[in-house]
């Protein structure tokens, strides 16, 4: 394997990073939803400290990517709009974590 090919292989995980999740605000949203079963908009807003408009816009992108499911449900007889990661979203987030770990492990000084 030539050195150029070797460099390409070394840096390939960086190219494979999911750009949808990589954006800091969306990463935060995915991280919180990854750790819970479901949550409403207000919960995410409080935990991520994003503004309403900002959060809404990022959730739309995540929903379009098929990572987040948004559904109206009744909880204790109160209607709530609940957000949860889809199966695809959970897999994507796990893959993102693995890729990032690989990238950061390769970024050594030596």
């Amino acid at each position: 394997m030539g050195s150029k090919d070797k460099d390409k292989t070394d840096l390939q995980p960086i190219a494979d990073i999911d750009r949808i999740i990589h954006e800091p605000a969306r990463f935060m949203i995915m991280a919180y939803l990854y750790m819970v079963e479901s949550a409403d908009f207000l919960f995410l807003m409080r935990q991520t400290e994003l503004t309403r408009g900002n959060l809404s816009s990022h959730l739309t992108k995540l929903q379009e990517a098929g990572y987040v499911q948004i559904k109206k449900e009744f909880v204790d007889r109160i209607p709530r709009t609940l957000l949860r990661l889809t199966g695809k979203g959970r897999k994507a987030f796990s893959a993102y974590r693995r890729n990032m770990k690989q990238v950061l492990d390769k970024l050594s000084d030596r």
Binding site: M35, R46, R52
Partner: protein
């Protein structure tokens, strides 16, 4: 990114934020103050009425926290942990109820162990309260309740040794819990103000 992003820590922080509103401390303070006042007026039999308010307190707490912090269903692991904590607490409450009964029976007899317990005054009751609070603090990750448990123990023992009027054993901790709860509530309301009504459109629920 020097600091690792620990997802467990994030989840735990979110979980604990639901216990930072000071409401449990306020309810506890009101309960203790109520006990002290009932004792002062020799109407301790009304204590049952206060215990009946516990479900009301739980509903108020849940509704208040959700209105400020939002609704979340934690992962099954956390839910299982909560269920186990509640089960353990139920066992402890049953055990302390039996202890309370034994303590009560001691007042009606003349056996050596009964006289010994009688001489302790209401310290056994303080132990029971302290034990329950400590358990709540440990099981539900509310460390300040473990401190409250210690405080109750100290107040009851010191009160007994200094022959302090018994209602004070409840009134003093009650005031402390109430003050702590109110401070926490003020800080909580400042950190999580009610949000203004939403403009239609977007994903906002």
């Amino acid at each position: 990114m020097e600091q690792k992003v620990n997802l467990q820590k994030i989840e735990r922080k979110a979980y604990l934020s639901y216990h930072q509103d000071g409401l449990w401390d306020i309810f506890l303070g009101v309960f203790f103050l109520g006990m002290g006042i009932l004792m002062f007026f020799n109407t301790i039999y009304l204590m049952g009425g206060m215990v009946a308010l516990v479900p009301v307190a739980i509903i108020i707490k849940k509704s208040f926290a959700t209105s400020r912090l939002g609704y979340v269903k934690f992962a099954p692991k956390r839910q299982t942990q909560e269920k186990k904590s509640r089960a353990k607490l139920t066992i402890i409450l049953t055990f302390t109820a039996i202890l309370g009964l034994v303590n009560f029976m001691a007042f009606s007899g003349k056996a050596e162990w009964q006289i010994w317990i009688k001489n302790l005054g209401i310290i056994p009751f303080g132990f029971v309260l302290s034990f329950v609070l400590g358990a709540v603090g440990l099981f539900f990750e509310m460390k300040r309740f473990v401190i409250y448990a210690g405080l109750i123990l100290v107040v009851f023992i010191a009160g007994h040794l200094t022959n302090t009027y018994p209602p004070a054993y409840f009134i003093l901790p009650g005031i402390i819990f109430l003050i702590v709860g109110l401070i926490m509530l003020i800080l909580f309301l400042h950190k999580y103000p009610r949000l203004k009504k939403e403009v239609p459109g977007g994903i906002q629920g």
